[in-house]
Amino acid sequence: MITAVQKPFDEISEMVKGHDKLLILGCGSCVTVCMAGGEKEVGILASTLRLFNKQNNISMEIIEDTIERQCDREFFDAVKDKILRADAVLSMACGAGVQFCAEVFEGKRVLPALNTRFYGATEQQGIWSECCAGCGSCVLDKFGGICPIARCSKSLLNGPCGGSQEGKCEVDPENIDCGWQLIYDRMKSLGLLHKLEENEPINDWSTGRDGGPGKIIREDMVL
């Protein structure tokens, strides 16, 4: 999923200042799963903002709603009227959802309530970690299903560097496992350690962000 965390409240309250009627719009997909921008989080943010406004004598009507996804046009139909009536939409979707909402409702002010972080998985309840860098050219077959690009702090294809200590990455030993230690352990258990002796050639990064904004076109599906 795409993971995100809520922006600092100060930043949000400053951002929404001056709007008389604000729609806080949650997203029912990834950010609901990572507990950053679903229905519950919409309620909490709305309550906090109302309390803040009351304390500061700010008059603002705050409406709450959540749709299934903010990255697909069809789901916006359900909240179309609410969006049109609001002065601004405070979107609790990921960056893609915020932008898409703005694209669907041209001329509407759409503001981000979240900081989008990464493509990740639920390591355990309440903990999410980055797994994929969206490089556009998957190498997981070569590394036992562990991505060196996303999980090594330096994206080394021929790791690990000297900063690997007791399974941890020196960049943040508390929180970051050395991706290459994980790769090594996995390849060893798979009996494939010899594969890691081969030098990984210089990479083609053009399939990812370095090739410019990505676009996928499925000719058979295009209307």
Partner: protein
């Protein structure tokens, strides 16, 4: 004049609710509005914030003693949730001590009374 809003007491039915039933001092009971929960862990962050939005001066979340939760960790989780509520109150510019977590055994009506009394007195000057 609007009716004076009371302190909300979210009470776990396995402990603090029983303690509340044993309270004989009517003034204590009059000061609060009890909401029965199957576990203090059921007190969601959004729900607690809603109490403040609705004008209640304070919220108590009263769970079982630590290590004595019927659902194992509901009370500990409640304490963490209260931490999140406190953060939201701080952000909104409201005294974070208006929400309070406590752990009460079913036989400790004395502690129950003290907690309510303390919060009531503390919030009295600002209570409407």
């Amino acid at each position: 004049m609007r009716e004076k809003k009371k302190i909300i007491a979210f009470c776990c039915e396995n402990s603090s609710l029983k303690a509340a039933y044993a309270v004989t001092d009517q003034s204590i009971l009059d000061a609060i509005e009890i909401i029965r929960l199957p576990c203090s862990g059921k007190a969601e962050i959004g729900l607690v914030l809603k109490c403040f939005e609705n004008g209640h001066p304070g919220v108590l979340i009263l769970g079982c003693p630590v290590d004595n939760c019927k659902y194992l960790t509901g009370n500990v989780r409640a304490r963490k949730r209260v931490g999140m509520v406190k953060k939201a109150l701080r952000e909104a510019g409201i005294d974070e001590n208006r929400v309070q977590m406590d752990f009460i055994s079913s036989v400790d009506s004395h502690k129950f009374m003290n907690i309510v009394k303390e919060m009531e007195e503390r919030l009295a000057p600002t209570a409407r």
